[in-house]
Amino acid sequence: MSTLIAGTPLAGRVAVVTGASSGIGEATAERFAELGAKVALLARRKDRLEDVAERITSKGGIALALPTDVTDRAAVRAAAERISVELGNVDLVFANAGVQLISEIGDLKTEDWDAQIDLNIKGVMNTIQAFVGSLEAAGTDGRPADLITTSSIAATRVLEKFQVYSGTKAYISHITRLLRTELGRKNVRVSTVEPGMVNTELPDHVTDPDASKLMADLIHQIDVLQSADVAETVSFVAALPKHVNLTELTILPTAQII
């Protein structure tokens, strides 16, 4: 992906990216940094986060690796405190960490249900609770402020066996509309990105053979999205003039039908 955004439109911004150790989050954190933002990196894998931070700093950027399980509310709050001390007031939040686990409802894989609800819904709410105050403060000060989430096309599609994952993403898409009603007037932009198939580690966690095949076939047969494609688009959203809110975006591989 050749980059489309020029200069450093995110200079002066302090960003937090959850799920920054791989895939979409990693690429977006790196792009935010290239575009001038200081970036806090959250995910569980410390070594991976440190690699990302290292790459950012070697290119002259500023990054802070904070190994954090975002399903742990207190841990996210503690991370927020460290960020505000070390990087400043957060004004750009990319709540992106998520997991996709596919099974038939009758299989009662309740642990998988919980894992998705805990990360995709509660993890995002934990991220919001830790940073919404900082975003509101930025908006009230007349600075740009963004809450951007990663939903999925699963939020609107009807895919067999994707019930819990799709439900968690529908929650994310709809709460975007709801949060706008409260945060818009405070000058906080709320956006959600619904990607189609992106080549990341996401499918690696899937154990259902049909779903694995569906995703493997897509990756094999069509030119799917790369994380950098999504990163450029998310960065565009954040770099727009502060009264322009690109609030809902669907980004798909051109050839993907679903």
Partner: protein, 267 residues
């Protein structure tokens, strides 16, 4: 500067060079701004619309020496559109980026609505978009061969999603556009044509200037009175960004609203 470096520079500044764009409703508002944004990024542009003088005025304002063309063509007139298509091919080339933008908005309680106004909204907003899409589809599919970028972009409205009482016909026409865009995306995406739906929130244009119903006019004015509504240029920037993404990436739906308009419509 070595030749190769020059190419990179051109790529960055004019990412849409070699593209041939057609924009309907290009004499003002989002259409005119989109023509300018695409042209500024290097595309040859054809401006279609109803008012020849204003089209020519917009066309002559485009800076630089890039290709441009303007023609009067009513999107509801299949023959005129077909003629315009041939003229575009003769003057600037085969279109690979079509922005179906022409639209009209009227308002007022349905009970009192003028039949002519109702019909016009459906004819321009729905049938006009269908004619535009169908006429240029062969060109777009041809352009997409060999994984080259090819775009069919529908400019719709948030009125297709949220409810604005007194704007039922307009809202219905916008919902039709949305479903047309989504369905076509699945239909021709596999052929490489990137069908996109842009749903714009309150943008300062001439849209709705002819509304005669006092209540509907008042409602529209109230919506536009927020501090910092969108300008057509801002919507156009989003359209241009989407068109500039690599061919395998389709930013297939995007909703752009003024930040302050958190809550809109009745629901």
């Amino acid at each position: 500067m070595p030749f190769v470096d020059q190419i990179t520079l051109e790529d960055n500044r004019y990412p849409l060079r070699h593209r041939v764009a057609v924009i309907t409703g290009a004499e003002s508002g989002i259409g005119a701004a989109t023509a300018a944004a695409l042209h500024a990024r290097g595309a040859a542009v054809a401006l279609l619309g109803l008012d020849g003088r204003r089209l020519e005025e917009q066309r002559s304002r485009l800076p630089g020496d890039g290709l441009s063309f303007a023609a009067v063509a009513d999107v509801t007139d299949r023959q005129a559109m077909s003629r315009a298509r041939r003229q575009i091919m003769d003057s600037i080339g085969v279109p690979d980026l079509v922005v179906s933008n022409a639209g009209v908005m009227n308002g007022g309680p349905l009970r009192d609505a003028d039949v002519h106004d109702m019909t016009q909204m459906i004819e321009v907003n729905v049938l006009g978009m269908l004619h535009t899409a169908q006429l240029f589809l062969p060109d777009l599919e041809e352009a997409a061969v060999g994984s080259r970028p090819s775009d069919l972009i529908f400019i719709g409205s948030i009125a297709g999603e949220v409810l604005f009482p007194n704007f039922s016909v307009y809202g219905a026409s916008q919902a039709a556009i949305a479903q047309l865009a989504r369905t076509l995306r699945a239909e021709i995406g596999p052929n490489g044509v990137r069908v996109k739906l842009v749903e714009a929130g309150v943008t300062l244009t001439r849209l709705g200037k002819g509304i005669s119903d006092r209540v509907a006019r008042r409602e529209l004015e109230d919506l536009r009175e927020i501090d910092l509504p969108l300008t057509p240029d801002e919507v156009a920037d989003a359209v241009a960004f989407a068109a500039t993404l690599p061919p395998h990436v389709n930013l297939s739906e995007l909703t752009v609203v003024p930040t302050k308009h958190g809550r809109l419509g009745a629901v």
